[in-house]
């Protein structure tokens, strides 16, 4: 085993903490993007608490790895990670989406420390991440930019403009991670707008492709570490995930793409994630 049982257990607990923080952001009776947050929580935990280099005291330190949510609607998952990492105060989570809150419905770099760029209009994050990766290279900073995309979001044409450009520009410090939870807002992707399969598309565009189980911490860590050996081309990690993972009643249910929890559901979810 490449990673110790303790390390895996520590990161799995971080992922549960992110899921709990996501629920804290939502609270009771207010709609939130719980499904996509929970499907990406393990990946986000691995990035923030294993892979990425950053200084929680100085989140603007140029010598940092960067994480960008292209699927900006799961901002609450990132907020939970930022709180867990000590970049933002945990008390902020409960203020999410309140008038005047530092935590907006979608990421806002001017309001939230640790947010790299405003996203939410889908399909733009890979391009922004490509710009950051090119900027890191140009500035001589040997760090990476990680961009988390949704599998529904892949329908946006700009994703493929960026997918075409990144290998041409040699952005081997750009890592795309697709949260392939197979659901979009309205139903299963296969029933709505079938963007799958993803691997041959990225391969055709010249990317190094890794496919993993996005809830298997060891597979996530192996993939993230394997990227470091890839030179000359960008890498995409296609993470097969379950929407709503960890909250039993939300798993694979499209309604929890952006749904509210009642008091009973909130308690049940928190118990399951304890």
């Amino acid at each position: 085993m490449k990673y110790s049982a303790q390390e895996i257990a520590r990161l799995e607990e971080k992922a549960r903490a992110i899921r709990r923080g996501t629920l804290e952001c939502m609270g009771i009776g207010v709609a939130g993007h719980v499904g996509g947050s929970c499907s990406s929580a393990d990946i986000i935990a691995a990035l923030y608490f294993h892979k990425m280099k950053y200084d929680p005291q100085n989140p603007q330190d140029p010598d940092r790895d960067r994480f960008l949510l292209s699927k900006g609607h799961v901002a609450i998952a990132q907020y939970a990670a930022l709180a867990e990492a000590g970049i933002i105060p945990r008390e902020w989570l409960k203020t999410t989406k309140q008038l005047g809150s530092r935590l907006q419905g979608h990421p806002d770099r001017l309001k939230t420390p640790g947010v790299e760029a405003g996203t939410g209009s889908l399909g733009q994050g890979l391009s922004i991440g490509l710009g950051m990766a090119l900027g890191q290279k140009l500035a001589g900073i040997a760090r990476k930019t990680y961009v988390l995309l949704g599998d529904g979001e892949i329908a946006e044409g700009q994703v493929w403009e960026a997918a075409l450009a990144a290998p041409i520009l040699g952005a081997d410090n750009l890592v795309a991670i697709v949260d392939n939870n197979r659901l979009q807002a309205t139903d299963f992707i296969k029933k709505r707008f079938n963007t799958l399969p993803l691997a041959p598309k990225f391969q055709g565009f010249g990317w190094h492709v890794i496919e993993i189980d996005g809830h298997d911490m060891e597979e996530i860590l192996s993939a993230l570490d394997a990227v470091d050996e890839i030179k000359g081309v960008p890498t995409v990690i296609i993470a097969h995930t379950v929407k709503g993972k960890g909250v039993s009643f939300a798993e694979n249910v499209a309604a929890y793409h952006n749904g509210a929890l009642n008091a009973e559901q909130y308690e049940q979810a928190m118990t399951e994630l304890a």
Partner: protein, 311 residues
């Protein structure tokens, strides 16, 4: 040496600034020979990104470069750099106040041959409506030199409108460019003409032709945003009427800005601009401007109407 072409002034100035400031990077969407960003590429190939014919991606990549401390400048024709990448400019760059510069080249109807698809009649309206965006439209090649420098020195998103064609200068060479400050090109008492871009040249011609009839002040409004309403109102004060002259739609452009600034003043305002229509192909710049009613004769008539309408 004085330039007589805004694109040339633009490309050479950006290249000169590139020597002073290693943070400037240029992005191009395969129109580098037209926008003259190629001059920057020749000087600093490592700071130049050919992004292919993909303006949306180019614009978001610029956002990422700004976030790593660079000063990216995107290039395309005005219809595309502003229009095609509107959402990218709005969502990440303007909301985030990122230090991205946008060159809208071959603006207005200056690409006369290519027709409606390539003529930007609404780029100022689009850019001006975006919070945090600065919008510049230099009058001529001389002013372009100062405007490009001011754009780079400004911290924040900025759009600059560049004309494709050769014409003589109406502003002084080496005059400092101050963002937000309109300049008086000709003094007059009866009518004030506010003009932008090449229309300042035509406004000055109209003022000269009218000199035995009317005393006409000509003001160059090379910053469309931010520009203080009080400043524009003060420049119109004492006149009997006001004219605006723009190579842009009267919807959301200079005419709208001036009408908004002068509301309640009682001053009659006549708008010379594109009357909510698209352009079309023509064999010359003068031909398309004439077709759209953008000539010095049209400005003269508007000035007479404005003076006559005064109570």
């Amino acid at each position: 040496m004085s330039y007589t072409n805004q694109r040339k002034a633009y490309g050479e100035t950006l290249t000169a600034l590139g020597a002073e400031n290693p943070k400037i990077v240029a992005l191009e969407a395969d129109l580098g020979n037209s926008t003259m960003s190629r001059l920057f590429q020749q000087a600093y190939p490592e700071r130049y990104f050919e992004m292919g014919i993909a303006e949306a991606n180019m614009t978001s990549v610029a956002a990422g470069l700004a976030q790593t401390g660079f000063i990216p400048v995107t290039h395309s024709f005005a219809v595309f750099s502003g229009g095609r990448a509107f959402d990218q400019l709005r969502q990440t760059i303007a909301i985030g106040k990122l230090n991205v510069k946008v060159c809208g080249s071959s603006a207005g109807c200056s690409d006369f041959g290519d027709g409606a698809t390539h003529q930007s009649v609404e780029d100022i309206a689009i850019m001006r409506a975006i919070p945090n965006m600065t919008v510049l439209c230099p009058a001529d090649a001389n002013e372009t030199v100062g405007a490009v420098r001011a754009m780079i020195e400004l911290e924040g998103p900025c759009y600059i409108r560049i004309n494709r064609n050769d014409y003589s200068n109406v502003t002084e060479e080496h005059a400092p460019f101050k963002i937000g400050v309109p300049t008086v090109l000709r003094e007059g008492r009866d009518v004030t003409i506010f003009a932008i871009g090449y229309m300042t040249t035509l406004a000055l011609e109209a003022a000269e032709a009218l000199k035995d009839e009317l005393s006409v002040r000509v003001v160059n409004v090379s910053t469309l945003k931010p520009v203080r309403e009080e400043t524009l109102a003060a420049l119109a004060k004492g006149c009997r009427g006001v004219v605006t002259a723009e190579e842009h739609s009267v919807v959301g452009g200079l005419g709208s800005i001036v009408c908004q600034a002068l509301r309640g003043s009682g001053l009659p305002v006549e708008l010379v601009g594109i009357e909510d229509v698209f352009g079309c192909s023509a064999h010359s710049y003068d031909e398309i401007l004439g077709h759209l009613g953008l000539t010095q004769e049209h400005i003269q008539e508007a000035a007479r109407r404005a003076a006559k309408a005064a109570r």
